[in-house]
Symmetry: C2
Subunit: 631 residues, 2 copies
């Protein structure tokens, strides 16, 4: 590997020209688009000009180079500034800037996404770019072991998001001195002044208390900016602290008519104002300026650590009682042994989710996120952006804490694997706060997601393996209690498939379950058989995509008599997936009984609660009997 | 109003007896239940004994008294301790403690809920009790104007949640000196040591930086605890700061076999251990101790401020173009004038959601939450627990940030109104990060929720009014753009209803829309009419509950030919609600075309994106034509 260092040789006079160009281009692009955030871009233009010209080490001709620094706009609405930077380094033309920004079908979207090769993660939901950056920094320090740096531009408004403090907390806990956060403190939010205004001391005290090295500067003083960025790159900080640069700035800086004025958030200038602003800034410029290309020092070659060698896929005896959460832990260890890109994260419940098995086997690839689910998903997103294969686990119920991050992960196009244990009221005594009863609906609604809900240990292992290479957001739902192993080792479980566990050529009714309710369906089928009713039983382990072909065939074979049972609220879960599929396939004459958790549970044993909700074997059998006898 | 103050006259010797009793009872109840968290209860027993005996002002015979202090267990898993307190003050019997805890159908659930009259809000998802307490404290200081205090017991593990720092931030911003946070720093989380262990200085620096008055004590020194609680009640703190008491404690304190030992989180003691523990703690006790009953000082009488008098309900001219978000703002102001219990919160986008109209009209009843959606929902929950009628608004997309809080609000049984603006890809240029495309699925899956999605200003006003007295979690989805007013002033819009806008006795097909797609359905119907196809058009403004009767009648009248179009991802939204309802009603022979946002949008104009997604008038008409001509 070559290790060329380009010295920071662009003079500050030239940087000043660049800053003016960035402002002018932010104005031009947003005015041409008729929307966008020029004033939020102008406040940070000096910061970005110095950064890009003298400190950001990036080979713009090779955005995938693993020596490149990473630039993340946590304040994604400042996209006019980011795209102006892309023009200034010569990767986006002035024409694209002027004609494509915010236009239909174009890559210069209103907020940045990885549709652009220089963008790691999608931003625009505030308070997420920094947590994502923590994930990239974890990859850099602990996995890639490359000297690249992560530069995150934050707005001051977004410091009100708790996720920002989860990020500072984890950045200091993991000693991420490769991370620099530049906060553009322009005092004005969308609708008025921020909580703390220009009280930089208050921000400094908070960031310091959370373990950062804090530098406070005038965000329009190029020399001060340059010094702060130089200090940030001084990795000799003995404590390994991340650096936070608090830059006091002026919103709309450079155009006297709007400087520090409220009422100009998210508004492009009308043509006449834009003209005056551009004139005040010295007119359009078309400088191309590239900063240093590659970091000094080479880091390690390739990704570390290597695979620990093949390890037998776990297998289980038929009929043995094994919790799917336990099988997940077993499977993840075996997967980790085969694939060095597999990494795991957990939210301080790894002894419940069984992620602890991976943590023990591969401590270098396990990141404990403590009770900070938002940061956990963001870290997974950042790690995935660096090419790793993260599995992030907590209770299914607590994944709801990070829904906005999961949604944004989908926009980022990352492949992230979520595992939610203790699904449903099956958990029993702990009560509803710990019961995931909305998780399937939540994840199904995310674009491009996959939802898997295995009923036994064998299928859990197969699906955990399948998730490792599955694109987009994949979700595995696991169960607290131990249930019999249903499938022999080696049985295939393709995503989008299902298993027909009971079947004849004269089935009266179909019972569809997943997870705990599949076991109830099997028991119900036994019960029904005694009464002479033959039930087909389907394990819908792949809730999204669902196996429409098998469902349609079953519906057709049984006159549309279907009982579907799920340990989830009735909206958006397994039942909806089944019904939507059948209706979309044009199957008419349906007689579906949808058993789900239709009231608010309390505590109790799992069996008591399954019965109370009407999703146990007795209720499934009764529903089937009713369907069969009523027509 | 009488204002009796009971002096804190229970001696610390007696308090020590009480503390031992609380520990013993926590052990007894969890061992009898076979699950629960005795060690997490034992660490905080001394804190609670002093608080309850000498500082908490509570009329245990009248839990609804508006002079009562509020005790919130943010560490809800310490329910054995809370229930032991309830026994000690005489409101729960020893028998209930021993036989009902964590049992099916009983109110002493695994984590506390308002099924118990002394519990304000459900806890158990960590990091939520404190933000909820901020809501109660806002009510106390700004609305009730009563001198009651809010005492929140936090665990140390949950301080890793960003929501805790959102809460500290808002508590200091709103100068909530009526709030005291007691942090039980027992060093051990579920799976090992916490991030910061017993580093109380680190916690102190963080809490101080976020604006709290911090007191650090030995959490087992009764005198020190008493002094700290006395200081906390000294409301002369000039800065109006909330108080944080950092108490260094020992997990399992009082039973030498488990003290400060990992591996005992969430585990009841086996019978023999429980016996030894109880012996070590001096055996069972059955003291009844009540502390001070009522606060000194009377506060104001009744709730302030009074209604500002009747104000005309906003009305709009038929055909005028008005955004539903604007109508929401208008409606909220009129509602606020009539009902002094109506309060509003927003996440720093009130000029987008139009909550600013309420903020201007009723600044005393508006709480700006800045960009902290979790705290916004928690504050609404706390305000609702005090009997107010909160409306909390932000972009629909950003409500995903607070899903766990919405879910817990449902468990708390509070009536909270959510308003999500800028729904769907209709918003256009800003791109997918700002588009609510999962919000309907998310809220529908919450137990007892209501989802409303009006298409015009008149229905928005009616539904905003209906939400004010609607139980549970109610959600209003509003649209960015302005569309024609469809309904005359005074038209009723009951929750659970719908409107049939076009209807004949020979309809060929049904078009179902809500919000922006209803306008597309109307345009499609015009288009179809030109081709001789008569379409029934239904405004499904109530997505949950949905108007099954009208849907079934329409399906029956048209041979089941239905086009449903929605600006939302296909899972869990309007289409699913329609399909589920028809299937549940046993309507067979369905031919449904479900148009939804099936890919990841980018930027563009609203019209371009609606066309791209296939949910505009042209696509609806084409789908209808296909249904009609193909059978």
């Amino acid at each position: 590997m070559t290790t060329i260092t380009t010295p920071p040789d662009t003079s500050l006079d030239t940087v000043a020209q660049l800053a003016a160009q960035l402002r002018v281009d932010a104005i031009r692009s947003s005015t041409s688009a008729g929307s966008g955030h020029p004033t939020s871009s102008m406040s940070a233009a000096d910061l970005l000009a110095v950064l890009v010209a003298r400190h950001l080490r990036y080979d713009w001709d090779d955005p995938s180079a693993d020596t490149n620094d990473h630039l993340i706009f946590s304040k994604g609405h400042a996209s006019p500034l980011l795209y102006a930077v892309f023009k200034a380094v010569g990767v986006v033309t002035d024409e694209e800037l002027m004609h494509d920004y915010r236009r239909f079908g174009q890559r210069l979207q209103g907020h940045p996404t990885p549709a652009l090769p220089w963008v790691d993660v999608a931003t625009g939901s505030l308070g997420q770019g920094l947590p994502d950056g923590v994930g990239v920094a974890l990859a850099g320090k602990y996995l890639d072991k490359k000297p690249y740096r992560i530069w995150v531009l934050c707005g001051d408004s977004e410091l009100a998001e708790g996720s920002i403090w989860e990020a500072f907390d984890k950045a200091s806990y993991y000693r991420l001195s490769n991370l620099t956060v530049i906060v553009d403190v322009n005092r004005l939010g969308q609708r008025g002044e921020t909580e703390l205004g220009w009280n930089l001391d208050a921000y400094a005290a908070r960031a310091e208390a959370f373990g950062a090295r804090v530098l406070t500067i005038d965000g329009h003083d190029l020399t001060a900016i340059d010094q702060a960025l130089t200090t940030a790159t001084d990795s000799t900080d003995a404590d390994g602290r991340p650096t936070v640069i608090l830059a006091k700035t002026v919103k709309g800086k450079g155009f006297s008519e709007v400087e520090d004025r409220p009422g100009w958030h998210g508004k492009p200038f009308p043509a006449d104002m834009a003209e005056r602003a551009i004139a005040e800034l010295g007119g359009p410029r078309h400088l191309t300026i590239r900063g240093p290309r590659r970091p000094a020092g080479r880091g390690t070659d390739g990704r570390a650590p290597a695979a620990a060698g093949d390890k037998a896929r776990p297998s289980y005896e038929l009929g043995a009682k094994v919790a799917t959460r336990k099988a997940y832990g077993d499977a993840l260890v075996a997967l980790g042994a085969r694939d060095p890109r597999v990494v795991a994260l957990d939210g301080e419940v790894n002894n419940s989710t069984y992620a602890f098995e991976f943590a023990r086997a591969f401590p270098d690839r396990y990141f404990e996120m403590f009770i900070a689910e938002q940061q956990m998903i963001a870290a997974a997103t950042g790690l995935a952006a660096r090419g790793y294969r993260p599995f992030a686990s907590t209770f299914a119920a607590f994944l709801t804490r990070a829904y906005d991050f999961i949604r944004m992960g989908s926009i980022s196009g990352v492949d992230v694997r979520l595992v939610g244990s203790h699904a449903g009221l099956e958990i029993g005594a702990d009560g509803p706060s710990q019961m995931g009863l909305e998780d399937i609906a939540m994840i199904r609604a995310v674009h491009g997601s996959t939802v898997l809900y295995p009923a036994d240990a064998t299928s859990t292992v197969a699906l955990t393996n399948a998730m490792a290479t599955n694109p987009g957001i994949s979700y595995l739902r696991t169960t607290r209690g131990a249930y019999p192993v249903l499938y022999p080792d080696g049985e295939p479980f393709p995503i989008g498939g299902s298993k027909v566990l009971r079947e004849s050529d004269h089935d009266h009714v179909v019972l569809i379950g997943a997870g705990v309710t599949l076991h109830a369906c099997l028991a119900a089928a036994d019960n029904l058989a005694e009464a002479g009713i033959t039930a087909r039983v389907i394990d819908a382990y792949s809730v999204k995509p669902i196996d429409g072909t098998t469902l349609a065939a079953a519906a057709t074979a049984t006159g549309g008599r279907i009982v579907v049972a799920e340990d989830h609220h009735p909206e958006g879960g397994l039942g909806c997936a089944v019904i939507d599929s059948l209706v979309a396939d044009g199957i008419s004459d349906l007689h579906i009984t949808h058993l789900a958790v239709r009231d608010m549970p309390g505590s109790g044993s799992g069996a008591e609660l399954l019965a109370w909700a009407g999703i146990d074997a007795n209720h499934i059998a009764a529903a089937a009997r009713h369907l069969v006898t009523s027509g």
